[in-house]
Subunit: 213 residues, 2 copies
DNA sequence: CTCCCCTGTGTAACAATGTCACAAACACTC
DNA sequence: GAGTGTTTGTGACATTGTTACACAGGGGAG
C-alpha cells in the first residue's frame, strides 16, 4: 500500500465518505503511514501517546499484564478501527492505561496529537467518529467485565473458540489463549483436554481442530 | 440548595473557574436541578440518556448486574464528577452500558443532551472537562479489571474496608459489600469471619468495627 | 543422522473462590 | 412473647488458580 490514497482511506473508513472533504484532506496530509511486523509490542502502559492511530490493516490486541506472566486481552482492533485508550490518552493528555501489541502485520496511519486535537475542535464529524469508536470499545470492555465476573470459564472458552476458528481449526498455543481470556495456561489445557475427551476437539501442538468439520 | 447559584457551581466544579464565562452561563441556564433520595435506582442498562448529569452532592454507584442476584460496582461518582457511561451514551447516541443507583441522597444538574452537544461543539473547555473525566473513570475501570483478574479477594476486601471505614467502622451488610466487589455474600462472610478470628475486626449485624481503633 | 534443547502440553495435588442448602441470630411488629 | 423478614454462619461440593514436575515433538548444531 505504501502511501495511502484518498480512495483507499474512504474505503477503510467509510464514515468519512459523508464527512466534509477538507477534514479528509487534513487527516491525510497531517498523517504519516507506518507498517509494523506481527507480534510486536507497540505500546506499554504508562507511555504517552504522540499520535492518534488509525488502523488500515492487520490487527492489534490491547491488554493488561498481571504478575506471574498472566495477561488479559481487553479488546482487539482491526481495519477501520481506532483505540479508545489511545484516543483518551491524547484527549486528556494522560498516560496510557494498557499495553498494545500487533497480532499480525499491521498498517497504520499516525496523526500527530496536536493535529488530532485541532481536527477534533474544528469538525463535528471528527468528534462523532471518535465518540462512536470510543463507545464501541467501551461496549466491549463492559461486556468483558460481565463475562469475567459472572461468566463461567468453559463457556467463555467455547465462545472464544467459535469466534476464532477458521475452517474448523485454530492455530494458537494454550498459552496464547490463556492470555486472551485472562487465565493461566494450565486451566486452558485442562478444559481443552476435557473437550477432547468429550469428542468435540482434537488437540495437537499449536493447533486445535474441530471434530466433525 | 434548591436552585444552584453560579458561585456554588464554580466551587463544586473548579475546572470552570478558568473557563470562559458564557460557557458557565449556558450550562446553568440550560440545566435543571434535581434532588434524588438515597438507594434509588436511577438508570438501567439499555436506557437512553436524555440528559448529561453533573453531580452536585451525594454519591452514585455505577454497576453491572449478573444472574443470581450478583452485581459488581464499576465505579462511584460524587460531588464534582460526571459519569463516562452517561457521557458516551449521549456523545455516540447509543444505549447505556450499565446501571446507576444513588447510594446517598443526591443532587444533580441535568443538562439536556441537545444543549450538551452544542456546548461540546462550541467550547474547547467543555471538551477538556468531559475528556478529563472520561479518562479518570476509564482509569478506574482499567484498575478494576486488573484487580478482578489478577488480584486476590482477601486483599481486595482489605483495601475496600480501609477505603470505606469511617471512625473505625463501616455500616454495611455483607451483601452490599459483595455487590461492590463482584462476589457472593457467602464469600464475604467467610473472609470477614477469618479476619475476625485473626483479631482484626469485630462483626455484628449491619456494622463492621475495626479492633484497636 | 543423532543428540540436545526449547517450547508446548499433560497432570496431580493443593489453595482460593463460587455455589447450594440450610441453620441460627437478630431486630421489628403485632 | 410469638411471628416474620433480614442478616449472618457454615458445611459440602464445584470451579478456577497455583505449583511443581514429567514428557513429547521439532528444529538446529554437531
Amino acid at each position: 500500500m505504501g502511501v495511502i490514497q484518498r480512495d483507499q482511506f474512504l474505503e477503510i473508513f467509510p464514515f468519512f465518505q459523508k464527512a466534509s472533504q477538507p477534514l479528509v484532506e487534513n487527516i491525510l496530509s497531517f498523517s504519516r503511514y507506518q507498517k509494523l511486523p506481527g507480534k510486536m509490542l507497540v505500546k506499554l502502559e504508562g507511555d504517552q501517546c504522540q499520535d492518534f492511530v488509525l488502523m488500515l490493516s492487520g490487527e492489534k490486541r490491547v491488554f493488561k499484564m498481571g504478575g506471574s506472566a498472566r495477561e488479559i486481552t481487553l479488546y482487539e482492533i482491526g481495519l477501520g478501527d481506532i483505540c479508545v485508550l489511545n484516543a483518551t490518552c491524547i484527549l486528556s493528555n494522560t498516560k496510557l492505561l494498557a499495553n498494545a501489541a500487533t497480532t499480525t502485520e499491521t498498517e497504520v496511519l499516525l496523526l500527530p496529537a496536536r493535529h488530532f486535537l485541532d481536527l477534533i475542535a474544528k469538525y463535528e464529524e471528527m468528534r462523532a467518529f471518535v465518540h462512536l469508536h470510543i463507545n464501541s470499545s467501551l461496549t466491549a470492555i463492559m461486556a468483558l467485565i460481565s463475562e469475567i465476573v459472572f461468566g463461567k470459564l468453559d463457556e467463555r472458552l467455547i465462545n472464544y473458540l467459535i469466534e476464532k476458528f477458521e475452517n474448523g481449526q485454530l492455530k494458537k498455543t494454550h498459552d496464547q489463549i490463556s492470555k486472551d481470556l485472562g487465565t493461566s495456561r494450565e486451566v486452558i489445557s485442562r478444559l481443552l483436554k476435557d473437550f477432547e475427551r468429550q469428542g468435540l476437539l482434537s488437540l495437537s501442538r499449536n493447533v486445535i481442530k474441530l471434530k466433525n468439520f
